[in-house]
Symmetry: C2
Subunit: 389 residues, 2 copies
C-alpha cells in the first residue's frame, strides 16, 4: 500500500478510489440528501467512507459533527475557500457542529514555519477567513492545536493504540525524521476523534482524496478503542492556474485571499487556457474548454451549472475569445473576494465566539488592520481596472 506522501500528486482519481478502497458517491446517495450542492453535482466531491451510513443514522435523529482541519502557514487560497464553503453548506443542511483544528504543531514539525509562534498569525487569519463564510457562531469550534490541553491528552491516549510500524507505513517516515512528526500522527487522530471523544458525535471529515490514509489510520484507532469510526467525504484537487497543483510555494498557481486586484488580474491573464494560437483560428475552430483552466475556474467559482454549459458551447463554436473568459473570471473573483473581506471584518470583532480557547486579541487587531488596508486597495484599484465592485 503506497503511503500518502508518495501519492500526493496523483490525480488519476479512479485509481485512488481503487487503491484506497473508498466508495464513489453514487446518484442514489445524492438523492438521500435533503438538498444538493454544486461541488457534489460537478463531481468535485466524489468519494466517501461511510457517508451513506452517517446519513442514514442522521435521518434516524443521530447528530454527527464535521471535523475539518487547516495547517496554518500561509494565507488561504481559493481552493481552500471552496471546500470550506461546502463545509458551511453541510452545517446549514444537517444542522451539526463543526470543529476546525488549526495545526500549528504540524506546520512546525514539518518545518513549514520556524517557530510554533510563527504559525499563530496564520492560524487566526485563516480561522477568520473561514468564519467569514457564514459559519454558525454558536456551533463552530476553532482551536489551535498546541493551545488545547485536550488535544495532547487525547493524542497520548490514542498513541498507545498504534505502533511506529503503522505510522511509518501511512506517512512514509524514516528513522532520520523527528519524533514530533511521528507523534503528529496521534495529534491528527486526536483532532479527528475529538468531537466523538469529547461530545459523543461521530465525525464526518471532508478531506482531499490523497489524505485518505490518515483517515484510515484514525478509523483503525477508533475501532481499537471502541469509538464510532469517523466517516469521510473526499474531494478532488482544483488544478492551479498554470495547470500545476496549487501551492503556496508557487504563488502563480493560485489566487490567495490576500492577493489584491492587480495580482488577481495578472495571475489570471497568465493562466493556461484551451484557446487557439490566434484570434482567427479561435473564431474558426473554437476553443477547448475541457483543457482550459480559466473555464474550469469559471465553472467552479463564477457560473451556475446551466451558465457553464452555455459558456462551454460558445467557446467550442468560437463565439467567445479567451480574453472574455479571463475578464469574466477576474471580475467574478475580484467581487467575490471584495465581499469576502467585508464579511471578514464583521466577524473579526466577535472572534472569541468561534474559538474553544482564549484568543490573542493583539494578533487579531493586526489582522483587522490588514483587512482594512486590503478593502481600501480594492476600492482604489476599481476605477483603474474598470471594475464595478
Amino acid at each position: 500500500m503506497p503511503n500518502a506522501n508518495a501519492l500526493e500528486k496523483i490525480t488519476d482519481y479512479d485509481r485512488l478510489v481503487e487503491i484506497f478502497g473508498v466508495s464513489k458517491i453514487s446518484k442514489e446517495l445524492l438523492k438521500e440528501l435533503p438538498s444538493t450542492h454544486k461541488l457534489l453535482e460537478i463531481g468535485y466531491i466524489f468519494a466517501h467512507r461511510d457517508f451513506d451510513k452517517l446519513i442514514a443514522q442522521w435521518k434516524k435523529g443521530e447528530k454527527f459533527a464535521i471535523l475539518t482541519g487547516r495547517g496554518p502557514s500561509n494565507a488561504l487560497h481559493l481552493g481552500h475557500l471552496l471546500i470550506f464553503e461546502f463545509v458551511k453548506w453541510l452545517q446549514d443542511t444537517f444542522k451539526v457542529p463543526v470543529f476546525i483544528p488549526l495545526s500549528d504543531d504540524e506546520k512546525y514539525v514539518f518545518r513549514k514555519v520556524n517557530t510554533l509562534k510563527d504559525s499563530l498569525y496564520y492560524a487566526y487569519d485563516n480561522a477568520l477567513d473561514i468564519a467569514a463564510l457564514g459559519f454558525d457562531e454558536r456551533d463552530t469550534n476553532f482551536f489551535i492545536s498546541s493551545k488545547l490541553l485536550d488535544v495532547y491528552q487525547l493524542a497520548i491516549t490514542l498513541s498507545r493504540h498504534v505502533t511506529l510500524n503503522e505510522v511509518k507505513a501511512v506517512f512514509g517516515f524514516s528513522d532520520s525524521d523527528n519524533p514530533g512528526k511521528y507523534f503528529y500522527s496521534c495529534i491528527q487522530a486526536a483532532h479527528i476523534l475529538y468531537p466523538t471523544w469529547k461530545k459523543g458525535f461521530r465525525s464526518l471529515v471532508p478531506i482531499a482524496i490523497d489524505q485518505d490514509p490518515y483517515i484510515r489510520l484514525s478509523r483503525d484507532i477508533a475501532e481499537r478503542i471502541k469509538l464510532p469510526k469517523p466517516a469521510a467525504i473526499h474531494s478532488k484537487y482544483l488544478p492551479g492556474l498554470t495547470g500545476e497543483p496549487m501551492s503556496a510555494s508557487k504563488p502563480e498557481t493560485a489566487i490567495f485571499i490576500d492577493d489584491d486586484p492587480y495580482q488577481i488580474k495578472s495571475k489570471i491573464w497568465r493562466a493556461l487556457t484551451g484557446g487557439q494560437p490566434t484570434i482567427k483560428e479561435q473564431r474558426e475552430k473554437g476553443g477547448n474548454p475541457d483543457k482550459c483552466i480559466v473555464f474550469k475556474w469559471l465553472e467552479t467559482f463564477v457560473l451556475t451549472p446551466h451558465e457553464a454549459l452555455e459558456w462551454k458551447e460558445k467557446c467550442r463554436s468560437g463565439q467567445i475569445l479567451c480574453g472574455e473568459c479571463k475578464r469574466k473570471l477576474f471580475e467574478g473573483l475580484a467581487r467575490k473576494l471584495y465581499e469576502h473581506h467585508k464579511s471578514k471584518l464583521k466577524v473579526i470583532s466577535k472572534a472569541e465566539k468561534y474559538f474553544i480557547h482564549e484568543v490573542d486579541w493583539g494578533m487579531i487587531e493586526k489582522i483587522e488592520e490588514k483587512e482594512k488596508a486590503l478593502i481600501e486597495r480594492y476600492e482604489e484599484s476599481a476605477k483603474d481596472l474598470n471594475l464595478s465592485l
Copy 2:
C-alpha cells in the same frame, strides 16, 4: 553505547561512571559546597555532570533551578523519600526554585496505568508526600505533565532537534513500540529544560545513575537550541530489603509510605542480614554488616555517620544480634513515617500553593481521608507493637 533500558540493573557504579563518561564527585568539589549532606558523605550521591561549573556560577550570583521528576503510578517508597530529602537540602542550601513534573503521560504510554486519569491520584499523593518533606511553598513548583500546555508546546519545539535514530539509541525502542513512547523522549527533555526555557535558570537534575542517557539527550538538545546544558548529580540505588532492587511490583523489597506498622515490621523481619545462622555463632564470630541490608538501611535512614561506625563495630564483634538491629530499624522507620504522615496532613490544606496549575480538590480530599486513617492505624497499633511514637 548501551541504552538506558539495558543498563537499568547494573550496580557496578564505577563501570557506569566509565561507560557514561560522567565525573565522580571529588573531595575538592565537596569542599566547595556551603554545607554537606549525609548522602554526599556516604557516597550515595556520587557522580555528576557540570555540577562543579554550576556551583562556581552560583558563587558568582547566578541562580539555578532544581528539576526532578516523578512517574506517578504507585505510592512512594523510602528510596524516593531519601532523594527528595536530599533535594530539599539542595533547595535550603542554595535557595533555588525546585520544579517537579509528575509524568502521568509517561506512566500511561509505558502501560503502568490503564488510563491517564488513573495516574492522577498518585500524582497528587506523591506530590503531597514530597511537599511534606518541608519544601519551600513559595519556590516549589509541581505540575502534572499532561495538565500544563507549556510542556506540550516545549516538547514539540524540541522534537525538531532530535531524530528517531537518537531516541532509539537512547531508549532502546523498536518499531513495534508506540509513538507515544518515542514522543515521551521529547516530553522528558521538555521537563528538564522547562526552568531554563521558561525562567532562564539552568537546570540541575538529581537522578539515578542509570538514567543518565536521558540527561545526555537533553544536554545535546539544549546545545542545539543554544540553551545552557542541564547539570546533573547522580545517585546509586539503595538495595531493597530482600537484596534485590526496590520495586513497586515486588512489595517485599521496599517499604512504601502507605505501609502500616504491621507491614513495616513484617518486611523488616524478613529482610536480608549479614548475621550468622545461630545466636551462638553470631556471639562468637560476629556478623557481617557490609553484606547486611538491615545495617545499610539503618546507616541510611536512622543512624548518624558516627553512630553507624559504632554499630558496625558492635555487629562485627558479636555484641549485638540481628533482632536488635531489626528492632532499631523498625522503630526508626515507623517513627519517621508517623511524623511524615502528620506533616503531610499539614500541607494538604494548602496543596494549591505547590502547583503551577489548578489542583483537583476532590482527589486531594480522598488523600486526606487516607492519611487520617493511616495516622489512626499507627496510633492504634503502637501499644500492640510496643512502639513509642
